[in-house]
Amino acid sequence: MNFAMRHLKFALMILLVTGLLQTLSAQVTIKGVIKDNKAKPVSGVSISIKDSYDGGTSDSTGKYSFKTTEKGEQLLVISSIGYKTIEQKVNLATGVVTIDVTIKEEISELTAVILSAGTFEASDRKKAAAVLDPIDIVTTASANGDITGALKTLPGAQQIGESEGLFVRGGTAAETKTFIDGTLVNNFFFSSVPNIAQFGRFSPFLFKGTVFSTGGYSALYGQALSSALILESIDLPEQSSANLGITVLSGSAGYQNLAKDKKSSWGFSYSYTDLSLAFAIIKQRQDFSKVPTTHNLDANFRIKTSKTGIIKYYGYFSSNKLAFTTNSIDSLGYLDKFAIGNKNSYHNLSWKENLGKGWKINTGISYSNNKDDVNSNMQNQSKQDVVLGNLEFKKFGVDTKGGYFNAKAVLEKRLKGLSAIRFGTEYNYGNDKSVYEAYNGQRFLDTIKGHINAVFGEADVYATNALAVKGGFRIEYSSLLNKTNIAPRFSVAYKLGKGSQASVAYGIFYQDPERRYLPSSVALNFMKATHYIVQYQKVANGQSFRTEIFYKKYDNLVKTGIVNFRNGAINNNGFGDAKGIEFFWRDKKTIKDLDYWISYSYLDTKRDFLNFPFAIAPNFAAKHTSSLVVKKFVQKIKTNVNFAYNYASGRPYYNIGFDGSNNKFTDQGTIPDFHNVSFALNYLPAIGKKNAKSFPVYVFQVSNVFNIKQTYGYNYSYNGYRKEAITPTSRVFVFIGAFISFGVDRSDEVINSAL
């Protein structure tokens, strides 16, 4: 017993001594729980003692625990992807130290709320709410390889086929402006041809980012009452490559060279389009005496000036011609002839650079030159020019020459997190000359030169990841009006949950009256629009939904009448409004490898402008517009199958006549509903083939598959007694082409590129 006791004592003593020794030399346990600011546990967080090996990682309940032999005052570092790193002092002595930590989400582009009211963004940037990819633009079946064609499947844009441009939320095409690398683009579309919508001049493959704003956009952009289309050009190509294309409409060839050090590149391409073959097969409504032909030449260079800086140049030259006759609506048995020749050049030079200390500069200049030569005539059945009594005015010629220079500079200073301030200046100069030659040889010369200067500033404030506010202003001076405006812009976005957010936007937008009404005999003011937008959006894995309600108020629209025997602006008293609701749903998830989107827009708008007798729903605004776009890649046959359906309810139409004292309707009604079904197949035989040297893409595309009669509106005879439906040039159109690229797989890129 005694013996046992002694042993026990001894054992206890040993235990005590070793215990003491252990506490002296040994380890401290640090443990705790890591939570976020919503008190939810965070897993995978690293907790470490600075400059030592000791540390741990939190588990799924946020708990962590580790032992350390470090002593005294130490720095505990708590870090995790997506959270702000915290450093905390601890004093380590003995035993167990409990340290619970609350970590805050880092404000980052990936998780932060997005100021998205009014905008649709298609980009590869790291943004949670970009609903479209650049590739989406070109694989939309109804787009025909045209940027605006794809945008017309998004809510807010109208299905207008009789003239080019984006008609957004009750606005005219002139109320939408396009910007490439920040600077304004004049003549974005090919020159207008009566009753035939023209394509955009620029290939969608020039751009890596597309922002389509249907309202409430930033103070960096101006001179657009309704909408801004903001395009960002691509940087250096991935590799040198050459490409060839042959289609029923055109032939093209191009080359891109990337320098060995991958710091610069240059390239050019040429294409020739001739519609003879297509028109020989597919009957056209018009009788073409000069089938449309186009030469396009473009060239570019891009130079990296530093890790973050790049200089980009893009130059474009185009020359096209066409002439056709249609049966004259004014005089039975005679023909109306229209001919146009166009030459256009466009140059854009831009530079962006990070200047350090959070400063960034974005600057660009662009110059463009446009020359149109339009001839209108009447012809008899044997296609000889004739001048008929009372219809002499139908013979005329118009030569226009425009020179435009645009420059813009924006400085940005990044503040804490994503917050930033931006300010800068913009300059737009235009010089338009026109010569109108009447049937009797009398010539009328017109020259308009003018410039607009603007300064702007805006601030983005991200209070947290969940709340962002943007406020800005823009001041513009227009030399043609000799007036100055100041336009405030404001938007707020609030994150409601994972992937869902609500935002609102407000802004005032000014625009010069269209140049054809300038200079005017009466002093004109800026036209004005005020936007109010509320948006809800939810983006989850593979699915996105958004809805917007908007109200837009128009003031100071231009009214026209007869001034000095010519149609001209008489005052600025026009007005109007537009309101509506829009939905967009995209789903890439539900059906495997099938991607589709549906958009719907409801629009209620009235306006009194131009020669309208009073406020009416304008002829370019359908109440209901909807699109369904479906894309599927069928792996087995290496084919992309694309389908699109576009719908618009019947738009109103009017014939407005002047009875000597008032503008009156001589006819009005509603055109039939519009339906269009397009279908496209892209066959990519080389996809995935190892060591393939060439990458062919074969395209087969049909527009208006079901041969549905489409009516865009009506043309009236001069006396107003006869009317004729405006329809597409042909009902069904079939496109077949082959594109081959050498050196680099640009299959996706090549699809539709020369359409």
């Binding site: 897993s43 995978g44 690293s46 470490s48 600075k50 400059d51 030592s52 090996y53 000791d54 540390g55 741990g56 990682t57 588990d59 799924s60 992807i81 997506g82 980052s108 990936l110 998780t111 590869d124 790291k126 949670a128 970009a130 990819d133 650049p134 590739i135 991935e238 590799q239 894995n541 593979g542 890439k588 998830k589 495997k592 490898d593 792996q635 087995k636 290496k638 996809i687 995935g688 083939k689 190892k690 680099v744 797989d745 640009r746 996706d748 890129e749």
Partner: protein, 220 residues
């Protein structure tokens, strides 16, 4: 005298750069061994955090930075939705890729022209590509291939090159150029190298042995 000075200088420099303390090696060894057994995002994160702690404490060793980068790529890959859909999952992939890239750049600053580092760089680009395959196939996919080519020119006897190449062949549908046969050949090539090579030391990259065994068993 000058020579002696130079000799002293270079040897001090050499010991400062290349010496690996016993503590360092002891800390690294068990963790390096875990690289072939971890198989959940949380496990990879934990392991990555450990390597990062060692890296930041040591400051002059490329290996722990390299391993930390590797673990973050693996954690990212494991965090991706596993339903095989082509969606935009860049919000998941990119933070891991960014983190891994930052760590790998630090490793590269200490060990230039290292075939192993190019292998992980390839994996980072592949992870980014998986974030949005449709949109990034041409950019990130091409960069991944390029990094692997570079790894090959630096050391064609690195088995991990063939594991990565084989995995691409293994997981890619045949229509897109995948091939189980080619994958098998590549795994066998990697396995062959593993058979005959011995790591120079216990903490040199040697991951992949287990993976190759598993993948080859899948192909039987």
């Amino acid at each position: 005298m000058k020579k002696v000075f130079l000799f002293l200088f270079t040897t001090t420099l050499a010991t400062a750069t290349f010496s690996q303390s016993e503590k360092y090696v002891k800390a690294m060894e068990p963790k390096v061994a875990m690289l072939d057994t971890s198989n959940s995002a949380d496990a990879w994160k934990d392991l990555g955090n450990t390597f990062e702690r060692i890296a930041e404490a040591e400051k002059t060793q490329w290996a722990p930075f390299y391993y930390a980068a590797f673990c973050n790529v693996m954690a990212g890959t494991m965090s991706m939705p596993q339903d095989g859909s082509f969606g935009d999952n860049s919000a998941i992939s990119d933070p891991y890729a960014d983190k891994a890239e930052g760590l790998l750049n630090k490793a590269e600053a200490m060990s230039k022209d290292n075939s192993e580092i190019y292998c992980v760089r390839k994996m980072i680009h592949s992870l980014r590509m998986m974030g949005n395959a449709m949109a990034r196939f041409m950019t990130e996919g091409a960069k991944a291939t390029e990094a692997l080519e570079k790894a090959k020119t630096l050391n064609a006897n690195n088995p991990r090159i063939y594991i990565l190449e084989g995995q691409d062949k293994f997981y890619t549908p045949e229509q897109f150029g995948g091939s189980k046969d080619e994958a098998k050949k590549l795994f066998e090539k990697a396995n062959g190298i593993f058979m005959v090579s011995k790591p120079g030391n216990s903490i040199e990259p040697q991951w992949g042995r287990g993976q190759v065994g598993y993948l080859l068993s899948q192909l039987k």
